[in-house]
Each structure stands twice: as structure tokens, then as C-alpha cells.
Symmetry: C2
């Protein structure tokens, strides 16, 4: 279904690990050496049936703390609606693995599995923990080089969950600010860590990865979606957020109300929904995944069913 020949790809540094047919398309899992993280990285792509015949737009899905590329692939059920709309879905890993940085495996919410989609500036982390560059530049370039007849190079949206929901917001905002045009046509998030400079998860991550963020936390302000919205918004892409009301991380870590207020103050095109009784799990994500796929497919100009 994809257009890569496994042996050719291996010669170019991309090795296929798995392939599974699902909803008429294929999930394909790859590993490759990364110049952003200086480690091997792994990702999985869902190629919808349409991508066998013509290149299709791409949705990036960034996962949360402790996850790999496989969580959303196994439990997010992206394939049903992505196959209907003709949207590819790219699922990166959440951090480098085995980088060998002292202390990277000590915490579940920092280091391995917790890259936070920033580019580290603290010397200890800066050689490897560069997930922002990996997700926004290196991985798209690799995909478009290896799958030119399956994936469109310039039709891209981004979504994510928790740490990855925040990552999606920041990837979209920062690439617009640095490039002067939006490579992402739309952004959505499930239960994002919406204001990380003000919550323990974000303070721990930014304080570790970012030089000068220990203490006052100034370095993290350029990586905080709520602050970016307050300072730089509105952005020229629509935003969709779903938040479960029974999410045990809602109080104290997620703070959707801060992002909501920032969006309102700037007139941002944003829909922030509260979903009654849902928690932080993939049962919540998979319940509303089709809505998010449709939101992005519409922004990317894909035909409605």
C-alpha cells in the first residue's frame, strides 16, 4: 500500500519493523537513525486505502507521557475514520530511547517516554532530547522522501494527547511563528497539558530540558501554549480541544481554562469542549477520535463522505 521497498529503505536508513492491514489500509512501523536525537527513532504510519493511488494529506498524532508510537495505533482507533476520509496518520515516539543520559530512566514523567516535544538547551540533554525538531522537520522530511507517491508534502495537520496534546499546540504555533506560514492546517488535542509553566509536569520537564528554566522558569515561556496564545495569537488555523470532566489529571496539571481564556482574549478560532464523565484514557480518545479526524480532514480540504 505504501510505496517504499523494504530493502531500498533499509539502505537509506529506514527499516520496516511491522505491517498490519486495518480498515482497508495499512499500519507500517519503521525505525531509523535520527539526526535530531542522535539515537534510533521509531514511528508508525497509517496509510489509508486512498494512498495506494495518490498522495494524501498527513495528520501527526503526538502521544502522552509513558507512551510509544504503539499506544494510539493499538487503542486510538484512528483507522476507521482516516480510511473513510483518505487521511494518513503518523505516530512518532515520545522521546529518544537509550540515549544514555544519566537519570533519563528515573522518572515516568521526565526523560525516556517524556520528551515534551521541546528542543533541549540544558547541556546534559541537548544532544538527544530534540523532539520539536524531530517532529516538525526531520520526520516530515523523511516521510516525504520515502513515500512521495503516498503522502503529500505540504498538507499537514497535528493532534495529540496530554503531553502530546500540548506538543501539537506548540508545534503548530511555533512553526507558524518561525516560518511565517502555517505548515499545519489545523491543530487538535485531547486533554492537553495546556499551561505547562504553571503545572508540576511542565515545570519539571522545562526545568530539566531548558537552560535557564530552573527557578524563575523564563525559558519555558516560549514553549507554553497558553502563553504563546496570549502573546502571539490569534493563529491562522482552527483549534479543537476535548477534555474529559472525570480526568484525574484535570485539577492541577491540565488547566484547559487557561488556554480557553487566552483563546477568547485573542479571538482565536477555537472549540474547547468538556466531555462529561470521560477520563484521561484511550477510551476517551477513541470515543472522540472520529470527530478529530473529521475536523482535520475538513481543514485539509478532503471530500466529505
Amino acid at each position: 500500500m505504501s510505496n517504499v521497498d523494504a530493502s531500498d529503505s533499509a539502505a537509506q536508513g529506514l527499516t520496516r519493523l511491522n505491517r498490519w492491514k486495518a480498515c482497508g489500509g495499512f499500519f507500517e512501523q519503521y525505525t531509523h537513525p535520527s539526526s535530531s536525537t542522535n539515537t534510533a527513532m521509531r514511528f508508525t504510519v497509517y496509510f489509508p486505502p486512498q494512498s495506494a493511488h495518490k498522495p494524501v494529506p498527513v495528520l501527526y498524532f503526538l502521544s502522552g507521557l509513558t507512551c510509544t508510537d504503539e499506544n494510539v495505533v493499538q487503542k486510538g482507533f484512528v483507522q476507521s475514520q482516516a480510511a473513510k476520509r483518505g487521511l494518513a496518520v503518523v505516530c512518532p515516539d515520545t522521546s529518544p530511547r537509550g540515549a544514555g543520559v544519566d537519570g533519563e530512566d528515573e522518572s515516568w514523567d521526565f526523560g525516556t517516554g517524556a520528551g515534551f516535544y521541546v528542543d533541549a538547551t540544558a547541556s546534559k540533554w541537548s544532544r538527544h532530547y530534540n523532539m520539536f525538531t524531530y517532529v516538525t522537520q526531520e520526520l516530515p522530511a523523511i516521510l516525504h522522501r520515502h513515500f512521495p507517491t503516498a503522502l503529500l508534502p505540504d498538507a499537514r495537520s497535528i493532534c495529540g494527547h496530554s503531553m502530546g496534546g500540548h506538543g501539537a499546540l506548540v508545534c503548530a504555533m511555533k512553526t507558524f511563528l518561525s516560518q511565517g506560514g502555517p505548515p499545519y492546517k489545523s491543530v487538535s488535542a485531547f486533554a492537553p497539558i495546556a499551561h505547562p509553566t504553571a503545572c508540576p509536569w511542565g515545570q519539571k520537564a522545562f526545568g530539566g530540558y531548558l537552560e535557564g528554566d530552573q527557578g524563575a522558569g523564563k525559558a519555558g515561556e516560549g514553549w507554553d501554549a497558553t502563553l504563546l496564545m496570549e502573546r502571539e495569537g490569534p493563529f491562522p488555523f482552527p483549534l479543537l480541544v476535548d477534555q474529559g470532566t472525570a480526568d484525574t489529571f484535570l485539577e492541577g496539571q491540565l488547566m484547559p481554562e487557561a488556554l480557553e481564556k487566552a483563546c477568547a482574549s485573542k479571538g482565536q478560532d477555537a472549540t474547547i469542549r468538556r466531555q462529561d464523565g470521560y477520563d484521561h484514557s484511550y477510551f476517551f480518545i477513541s470515543t472522540f477520535m472520529a470527530d478529530h479526524i473529521d475536523f482535520h480532514a475538513n481543514a485539509l480540504g478532503l471530500p466529505r463522505e
Copy 2:
């Protein structure tokens, strides 16, 4: 959503372990002491939104080798269509756990995680490995005692995967033969081990669990879906089977052609489909799960959407 009070249930031997909202309904996971297996047993139920207001029919889903109740709950995506049609889905575990039978943890395809949905007669296994009685009698009785306003007692269908696909076929056939009426209104299977007396998985399981099945294999004939169909068919319920053509277990273990031939020779109401390019995984199952939910919902008389 369900009608059990957790503290009351614990007093009656049923303890709730988890509860997750999904597609407007709830997955609820329980453990209880079992009189069939003389161990604790675990199961998960999907209560669709409709079950909050009136009792609904129940689909049993029997999982395959190495699985627990959680595999189909996490990866089968039963909830989307079950919520639309108003069908509860009950997911039992695949064997007793920690029964203490010597050798039960030595093989991935025999003992723990591999109960094969038979009642063991070999003395070593017969105190614990009685998954047929557990699934067809004890568990339905427990459910209807604890959830009388959420689940209908007499509207029941059954489905399964691989070992559990075969289990579903045999549970439906044998309860019809023993009770003279069909407690299951319909039966379906993903990639069932369709003729176990003729394949290595089945020969190993029956040779271990069934007294007198070591050698000639006569004891297993009463637990083989293809032989039951040949000898006792047709049965008064419709049958749906999906089989992936890229399933690595198709040759040598699954033998859908034997069941197909038996159904044809008896005039059984059966649809046996080959699905091009699909393997044995939950990506295959989740792709066709909505079809199976609809098949059972129709047989159970639920209104179409």
C-alpha cells in the same frame, strides 16, 4: 450506568476493579470467586448507554490464546457499534489463573491463558479448567443476578477469536444440544480454530484436558465444531465467520474449509468470508467488529439505526 452498587457486590462476591466511560456507555471490570474453576475469575462488561434505562441483550466475546478479558476491550473497539445498537458485550478471561496445576504455565498454548472453553475430564485439570461451564452457565447467572435492570437474562449471542472463535461455535452448539433450545440467538467467529481434533493446537489441548483423548482423540470429537456440525447440524441460529487470507495460522491450525464443508453438507445458515490481506491480529478483528455487532444485534431483534 450499571445497576450494581460496588459495596453490595463485594458482599456477594463480585468486586469492581475498574470503570471507564467509552462511547457514552461504560466498560466495567470485575473479579469474583468462581465455583466452576475454583479460582478467582475476572471479566469485563461493556454497558451501552441504553442499559441505563432498560435491560439489553448480551453478546459474549471469547478471546484467543494468551489473551485476558482486556485484549478485546482495549483493541477490539466493540464499543462504537455496541453503543449504537444497544448491545452489552461481556468479555470473560480465557482460563483460570493461578490454579496451581503443575505445568499450567509451561506453554503459551496450553494451561494458563489457553482454557479452550472445554470442561476438563483429566483428573489433573478437572477441578479448575472448566471454562465451558463458566462461560455458558456460571457467568450468565452471575450477570443476571447482579445486573437485573441492565442485562436481559434470555437474549444472548456469542462471538470469539481463534481459540475463542471455536469456543463460541461449541458453546452455541452444545448448549442447544443439551437444553433443546438455543440460549444463543446467533454465533460468529474471527479466525476460529475450526477443526481442533485435526490441528496441533487442538490436539494438544484436548489431549491434556480430556480423559481418553490422548492417542486416538475420541474424547475431543464432542468438542470439535466441525464434527458437531457434521453430526448434529444444522443448528437453528445463524453463523458468521471472518477469516483473513494473510493469517499466518491459517495453514495447519485454523481449517475454515473443514467447517465450511460441514455447514454446506448440512444446509446450515452460515456465512464464511475470506478477507483479503488481513492477519490474525486485533487490527483484523476491529476492522470487521461492527459487522459482527450488527449481525448479532439483528439476530437479537434490536432496532436498526
